[in-house]
């Protein structure tokens, strides 16, 4: 295995890795969802009889669900199918299953739906043309309201020499995992079972059980290989429908989305409008004001997670003595808002970075100098009163400035160089458990997460175990168990796998090594090594074969097992600044500074990215090739959000570009060479000081490209993505 080869490379390159989309069970039926024909409507009536008349077809709707789940009391706010009201276009209103894929599609088309259309709400500017003077309390329109303030904000704005107010708009972006959502469900006397492509088997179990109203213990979720997640495969989605169909059919049912459905039904980042105001006196920020309208689609009131989180990122990693933030989670006739790799953070970084640069220019100060002066450093307080933990962003920024100066000196006219900063806090507080089993020849990590691609499970967890035990990483194997057999874990999201589940693996190893120490009569540290193909325990100058240290029962059971868990805590915010709603504390502080060199066509406004560099504080890097690969991939995804990716919603609630030709993600020739650098010396809360790296690389990208475009052509674009027409418009009126 070369330095960059991955342990899952061979199985994936043999075509032998089974993804959700590949699941095939003897006797299974093919499922299909029946989708609402309008984005908003009432008096919904669904006639399943034409579908049921087709041979071998099973069809279920709202009326069937209650009877299908014995004594089930599912979440009344989240019925699988609406009974009266449709709230987004192509909302599932019924489901069918048939012996073949084509018959399932035919059956879905045969269902007769009648619904009385209602006015459709899609556009934030139409819904909130002015910032509301009084808090709006309308659960039909507002899912959440958040508001916080510190200091005399109005006074600071009144008394400061420079005040800049701007409005920014950001687009809806999709995850675009290449594998569509897919699962196979089966319901037998033994219980409910679903095999699914998921980032969180336990999350899917909890969510599915809640929707169906069955005990979690009655449901087993088994993950498959995941063909890309990016946040889109976190919670239950198809699983409840597939289980209900399987229950009704008495046979296994496969349910998968078509790629167009993937776009139309997917839960992802929706549009936002942000009003930014900053006051400056004598080169110092005196006050900030941020007002956010975040489209959350049909997210339920009280269940919006995004607004309070997003608004923290709109203040950015900058000191401000006084601030006010207020945000509305605005309900529209779109699918519910869902997580997308660092939800809303790339958009927030674009807004705050572009805005503070404009503020600096208005105050007659070099933007980089202005930002560096206000940037958080370890020990500073965040606006919400949290103490900043080790944080390498200022160092990353210094490195980026030096490189940008060099690139700028080399850039011909028409080209420009920009820097963007981003920060993030990884979800290392979310809990997880793991078991390790040591046999005479290998160390196995038993846990519940499937690899989603980043390498955080198959490489990251193995590297943690290797580091703690002293074994070469090739001697460590990660083994997956379904939710009935695996220790609990929260899921592969929030850049938490190595940071949190890794801590559980580490704790299990520490316990295992301590038990070996007892058996060796060694009070000192014990490590493991390989000698002649066998694992030996090393203590001081002595060593013993592991085979000799196991009891016969342990040998028969496959080895010596030890368990570990990690239920972390995040920091605390100063609640005295909170006026309404929920804001979130950061667990750790992760930062990155990126540099891009671009060329802008002065006529068309089209942007070409020529080279790119990323400086990351990832704490202690546990696997350099994987870390590098995360940054390369995250930057490429960010380039899409910066330049081309925009889900376009029509006034009647239709997603107009539900395909890969019209919704354009970066192709091979559009991603430039990417330099990747890691800064040492800023340890995080993960094992050995690791910080999460799944999400941070995407965050600074749109900000970086926007800065480079301004440097190249003078265009200060306040809207994402930086599509040619938006850049050209700024060039024209500059």
């Amino acid at each position: 295995m070369s330095a960059t080869a991955r342990p899952d490379g061979a199985v994936k390159l043999a075509g032998a890795a089974v993804y959700g989309e590949d699941l095939d069970v003897p006797g299974m039926l093919w499922g299909a969802l029946v989708l609402a024909p309008v984005a908003h409507g009432r008096r919904l009536s669904v006639d399943l009889s034409p579908a049921r008349a087709l041979p071998g077809v099973v069809a279920i709707g709202a009326a069937d669900v209650a009877g299908l789940v014995d004594g089930g009391t599912g979440d009344p706010e989240r019925p699988p199918f609406p009974s009266e009201r449709v709230s987004y276009l192509q909302q599932p209103v019924a489901a069918v299953a048939a012996p073949t894929r084509s018959l399932a599609r035919e059956a879905a088309r045969a269902v007769r739906i009648s619904v009385e259309p209602l006015p459709v709400a899609t556009d934030l500017d139409d819904l909130f043309p002015e910032w509301p003077r009084e808090k709006i309390e309308d659960p039909a329109r507002v899912a959440a309201h958040v508001h916080a303030r510190r200091g005399d904000v109005d006074g600071a704005f009144r008394d400061s020499a420079t005040v800049v107010a701007e409005t920014y708009r950001t687009a809806s972006v999709h995850q675009v995992a290449l594998e569509p959502h897919a699962c196979v469900a089966e319901v037998t006397d033994g219980g409910w079972r679903v095999r699914t492509s998921t980032q969180s088997p336990f999350g899917a179990r909890e969510d599915t059980a809640s929707i169906l109203g069955i005990p979690e213990a009655a449901l087993v979720v088994e993950g498959t290989w995941v063909g890309g997640g990016f946040g889109g495969k976190g919670a239950a989605f198809l699983e409840p429908y597939a289980l209900l169909l399987a229950r009704a059919a008495g046979r296994p049912v496969r349910l998968a989305l078509s790629y167009a459905e993937e776009f139309r039904l997917g839960r992802t980042t929706l549009p936002a409008v942000v009003r930014m105001e900053t006051a400056v006196n004598a080169g110092e920020i005196t006050a900030r004001r941020v007002r956010l309208l975040l489209d959350v689609g049909t997210s339920l009131p009280g269940r919006d997670f995004a607004t309070g989180y997003a608004i923290g990122f709109l203040l950015g990693p900058y000191r401000a003595p006084a601030f006010e933030v207020e945000g509305y989670a605005v309900r529209t006739n779109k699918p519910p808002f869902g997580p997308h790799r660092a939800p809303f953070a790339p958009q927030a970084a674009f807004v705050v970075e572009s805005h503070l640069a404009a503020v600096a220019r208005a105050a007659g100060i070099d933007p980089a100098t202005f930002k560096a002066r206000h940037l958080w450093r370890e020990g500073d307080r965040t606006p919400f009163g949290q103490r900043v933990l080790p944080f390498g962003l200022a160092s990353a920024f210094e490195s980026a400035r030096a490189l940008a100066a060099r690139w700028r000196s080399e850039a011909p006219p028409g080209q420009g160089v920009g820097i963007g900063l981003g920060f993030w806090s990884t979800s290392t507080g979310a809990g997880g458990e793991a078991r390790v089993v040591l046999s005479p020849t290998e160390l196995v990590i038993l846990q519940g997460e499937r690899e989603i691609g980043s390498g955080s499970v198959v490489v990251g967890l193995a590297q943690v175990a290797a580091r703690r035990s002293g074994l070469p990483v090739e001697q460590v194997r990660v083994e997956y168990r379904d939710s009935a057999g695996a220790p609990f874990d929260a899921g592969v999201f929030g850049s938490r796998t190595v940071g949190a589940l890794g801590r559980a693996v580490d704790a299990a190893l520490v316990s295992l090594l301590a038990r070996l120490g007892e058996r060796l009569g060694s009070p000192g540290p014990v490590t493991l090594a390989v000698l002649d193909g066998e694992i030996v325990a090393v203590h001081g100058s002595g060593r013993r074969r592991v085979a000799e240290l196991l009891t016969p029962a342990e040998t028969a059971a496959g080895g010596l097992a030890a368990d570990g868990k990690h239920y972390g805590r995040s920091g605390e915010i100063d609640e005295s600044v909170v006026l309404d709603g929920a804001f979130y504390a950061f667990t750790d502080f992760t930062g990155a500074a990126h540099v891009a060199q671009v060329e802008v066509d002065p006529q068309t406004g089209s942007v070409r990215v020529l080279r790119y560099a990323a400086f990351h504080d990832a704490g202690v890097v546990v696997d350099l090739p994987s870390a590098r690969a995360q940054v390369e991939g995250g930057v490429a995804m960010g380039l899409g959000a910066a330049l081309t990716e925009e889900a376009i919603w029509s006034d009647d609630g239709r997603l107009e570009n539900a395909g890969l030709v019209d919704y354009r993600i970066p192709t091979l020739r559009e991603v430039p060479p990417i330099e990747v650098h890691f800064l040492e010396g800023f340890p995080g809360a993960g094992p050995f000081g690791a910080k999460g790296l799944g999400e941070p690389p995407i965050i600074p990208v749109p900000a970086t490209i926007a800065a480079a475009v301004r440097d190249a052509a003078g265009a200060h674009v306040r809207e994402l993505p930086l599509a040619p027409e938006r850049v050209a418009r700024e060039l024209k009126f500059r």
Binding site: G9, G15, E451, G455, A629, I665
Partner: protein, 158 residues
Amino acid sequence: MSGGRLRLSVNGRPTELADVPPEERLLDTVRWRLGLKGTKEGCRTGECGACTVLRDGHAVLSCLLLARDADGAAITTIEGVRSDPVGERVRAAFESAGALQCGYCTPGFVMALTGLLREAGRSTPLDELLEDLGGNLCRCTGYSTIVRAARAAREGLP
């Protein structure tokens, strides 16, 4: 061909299929009739490249090809790529470059690159080769490692 009968050579093995409906796509034949799930279904509309296989040595999108139109052809999928010397070189280059993450686009990339290198070998300029790979989408890697693998596979050719 009559009565929906179809003759293919799949990964070197002669294969006869009956009752293949006229609308069946080669992608579904390979995945669901033959059980070769290494060929991936992504967009199903010819936009992502995940379903790429070789037909008589040339890369094709199996989602856009009617199975009956492949009658008589030799089909190579990721499961059979190792028996082709160019294919094995490409596969090995992807493995040693770590040119994959989730792995869903990977079989399509391997087949596309194998097809391109079989057509012109080392004489294809790298730039052209990369241009031609533009029809295969990857969301995980940012393509850097895939470019490294493509370069290594091309340079390793005789």
